[in-house]
Symmetry: C2
Subunit: 155 residues, 2 copies
Amino acid sequence: MKQCISVIVGASLLLGASGAFAQQAPKPEQLIKWRQSVYQVLAWNSGRIKANVDGQFNKDEVIRAANAIAGLANSGIGGLFAAGSETGKGWKETATKPDFFKNPQRVAELAGNFNREANELAKVAGSGDVAAIKAQFGKYSQTCKACHDDFKSKD
Amino acid sequence: MKQCISVIVGASLLLGASGAFAQQAPKPEQLIKWRQSVYQVLAWNSGRIKANVDGQFNKDEVIRAANAIAGLANSGIGGLFAAGSETGKGWKETATKPDFFKNPQRVAELAGNFNREANELAKVAGSGDVAAIKAQFGKYSQTCKACHDDFKSKD
C-alpha cells in the first residue's frame, strides 16, 4: 500500500460559485483541510455502520457507507500528507503528530492495515450478515484506533 | 434518487483519541460539518481528475479519484441535509441557501443528475481513454455547477 504514503503531484481546485475548476499547486493548508475533511467523512460513514450493527439494521445503508469508506481508503489519502504539510491550519490546526512524518514505514503499515480492513468491510457489507459485518467493523475500527494512538494529537 | 433527499436516521459518532465510536443523535452542526467535508473531498478528487485530463495523465490516479467520487455520490449525502440543518455552523456557516430546503423536487433532480454522471465518470475512468474521461468529467462538473448556481451561497 505504498500509495498511502506516496506524494501525489496533484492540483488543488477552486470551486467557486461558477462551478469552474481552476488549477494551482495545492498549498499545505489546502492539503490539511482536505485530509481533515476525509477523516470527517470516514467518521460519518463509520458511525452509520456502527448505528446499524448495534441497532436497526438497514443493509442498503451499510453497503453505501462501507463503499464510501472503501472508496476513500483506496483514493490515495497519503498524498494529503505531502512534505510541507507537517504543520499548519486547514479547517483547524493539524492534529497529525510530527512523528507521523518521521516514520514512513510504520505509517505504511498502519495505512495498509486500514485499507485491507476497509476493503474487507465493503465486501462483507454486501453479505447482509449482521454478525459478520459487526465483527469486520470491529477489525476496521481497530485500524483507525491504532493510527490515532500513534499519530493523532488529542483534540 | 430519492435517497439523496431522504432523512437518514443515523447516528453521529465521537471519534476520540481512544478511537472508540460512540453514538448519539447527530446535531445540525455535525451534519453541516459532515456535508462541508463531503464537498471538500469531492473537490479534492475532482481537481485531481481535472489535473490529469489537462496535464500528465495517470490512469490509476484517475480511477482512484473517480471511485472515491462515485462512492460518495452513492453514499446518501441527502441525509446530511436533514430537517433542522437549514442554518448553523459546521466548520463554518452553511453555504446552503434556504431555497434548497423548500424545493425537494428540484434538489432530487439535481442530485439524480450528479449521481448519474458521477457513476458514469467512474465507469469511463476505467477505460483509460483520456478524451472520453475529459468529456465525461465535463458533464459531471456541470452537475456540480448546476446545484451551486441554484442552491449554494457565494463564499
